[in-house]
């Protein structure tokens, strides 16, 4: 791992939904092994920014470069990119028609990343890692929110991604389940995974982030270490936001 290597470079990213400008001009760099946490009020464009990184949203303008390759709209390259960029959603989005094990094995087997046996082995290993070995045969509707989210993380990890995106992974959880999910994420961060996390968990940002970005109105208004952002925010909007949430 090389902390100077830029994994993702975003330059002048713009995104409109019709007349609504969600991202106005966003530029950022994410280096290998770095944990970047994005905070900001609702509607500031955080989620849209994240979704642009694995092309779930098509950018209106600007460029995104991952590992030196500029993202294009070729379907084939898009699918290849997504294999390497894991995504965890606010509402988990586990496949309801499959049990946990099949949720984990679907993509690796279907995309011929490995044999069925290897996929199963890896799936079981990932389940063990998130502490849900005994739920392998359960269906999503039989799991609690926290368990679902841990399975979702395990599912993304089964593709051996080198970047993980988290879109408000704890926002839909009951308070007592937030901890178990954050624990898995911290573990992942310690192992050196490159992570981009949109969250309202300021405690997590403070503890785990290498860098914090504050977004509002489709722009990154301020960025810095957690210390800089939480202790000495410069931008009045950042100060205002932090006063409200802390």
């Amino acid at each position: 791992m090389n902390p100077d290597k830029v994994k993702i470079r975003v330059e002048h990213l713009r995104k409109d939904f019709g007349k609504l400008e969600v991202l106005r001009d966003v530029s950022a760099e994410i280096r290998e092994g770095e944990v970047v946490v994005i905070i900001g009020p609702s509607g500031s464009g955080k989620s849209t920014f994240l979704r642009c990184l694995n092309q779930l949203e098509e950018a209106t303008g600007g460029t995104i470069t991952v590992d030196g390759v500029v993202l294009s709209d070729s379907q084939k390259e898009m699918n290849r990119l997504r294999e390497r960029v894991g995504m965890v959603f606010q509402h988990f989005n586990l496949f309801n028609n499959m049990n946990v094990l099949r949720n984990l094995m679907l993509a690796p087997v279907d995309l011929k990343k490995c044999s069925r046996e290897e996929a199963r082995e890896r799936a079981e290993k990932m389940l063990e890692r998130v502490g849900l070995t005994e739920k392998a045969r359960a269906y999503p509707r039989e799991l609690s929110g926290g368990q679902k989210q841990r399975v979702a993380i395990a599912r993304a990890l089964c593709m051996k991604p080198d970047i993980m995106l988290f879109d408000e992974p704890t926002s839909a959880l009951d308070p007592e389940m937030v901890g178990e999910v954050l624990e898995v994420m911290k573990e992942l961060a310690r192992e050196g995974m490159t992570m981009v996390v949109v969250t309202h968990e300021m405690g997590f940002a403070r503890e785990v982030a290498d860098r914090v970005l504050f977004m509002d109105g489709g722009l990154i208004l301020e960025e810095g270490t957690p210390e800089e952002i939480f202790r000495h925010p410069q931008n009045p909007r950042t100060q205002d936001f932090l006063n409200k949430v802390l």
């Binding site: 290849r80 997504r82 995504m87 509402h91 989005n93 309801n96 679907l106 279907d110 509707r141 039989e142």
Partner: protein, 224 residues
């Protein structure tokens, strides 16, 4: 009543067989048409969506009996007399199957469209985020879930189509209603004959509903 059954029983049962055959052909092609048009109506491509919209509205806007006359009499006439191709002739079974397939297909397309749209978009996004291509995600994740919610409406449509076969008696297909008409003409026992016919339809449809319930129960997602 017994005299009808002993004398015309086999005839009526054979006619029911013809009804079922026609329904089977119709439904088979209706499923194919419904699936294709239904999927077309959720694609991003505007031509696909436009085609689906026109097809569904056209078929839904025309009564089945008119469609039957049009296909059975109108289309061969058009080919033979106007286009002068000559020798184009449809059997009642062929024309009937096409009618049912088009008619039921249009309604199926709507059921399938609604079914696909009822699956949370997050399911497709999650599949895509793992690198699965669109069609693969559709096939492995979205459609299986959509089909489960569609089953009751599809069975309902099957039953309607099964009963609609009776309309095709107007083009002379020897299905149950057409045959029963002949029986009445011979015996003048309309109360008994139509009573028997009604009960025959009822039995078949009850059996179909029974089968549907079993399928529905089997499709529940639970660890076993």
């Amino acid at each position: 009543m017994l005299s009808i059954l002993t004398k015309y029983g086999t005839l009526l049962v054979t006619a029911m067989g013809q009804t079922l055959l026609l329904a089977l052909y119709g439904l088979l092609f209706a499923c194919i048409i419904g699936l294709i048009v239904g999927i077309m109506s959720v694609l991003r491509n505007r031509f696909c969506r436009g085609f689906a919209l026109v097809f569904v509205n056209l078929i839904r806007g025309v009564p089945l009996i008119v469609l039957a006359y049009f296909i059975f009499f109108g289309v061969p006439y058009f080919c033979n007399t106007i286009l002068k191709i000559g020798g184009v002739k449809l059997t009642a079974l062929e024309a009937g199957s096409v009618c049912l397939a088009l008619n039921c297909g249009a309604y199926m397309a709507e059921i399938i469209r609604a079914g696909i749209q009822s699956v949370d978009v997050g399911q497709m996004e999650a599949a895509r985020s793992l690198g699965l291509p669109y069609w693969r995600s559709m096939q492995r994740v979205v459609l299986p879930q959509a089909i489960r919610t569609m089953i009751p409406s599809i069975i309902n449509q099957f039953i309607i189509t099964l009963k609609d076969t009776s309309i095709l008696s107007v083009i002379g297909f020897p299905e149950l209603v057409n045959t029963a008409k002949n029986v009445v003409a011979n015996t003048f026992m309309s109360f008994q004959t139509w009573g028997i016919v009604a009960i025959m339809y009822l039995i078949v449809i009850l059996l179909l509903q029974r089968a549907a319930k079993t399928v529905e129960r089997r499709l529940k997602y639970e660890s076993r």
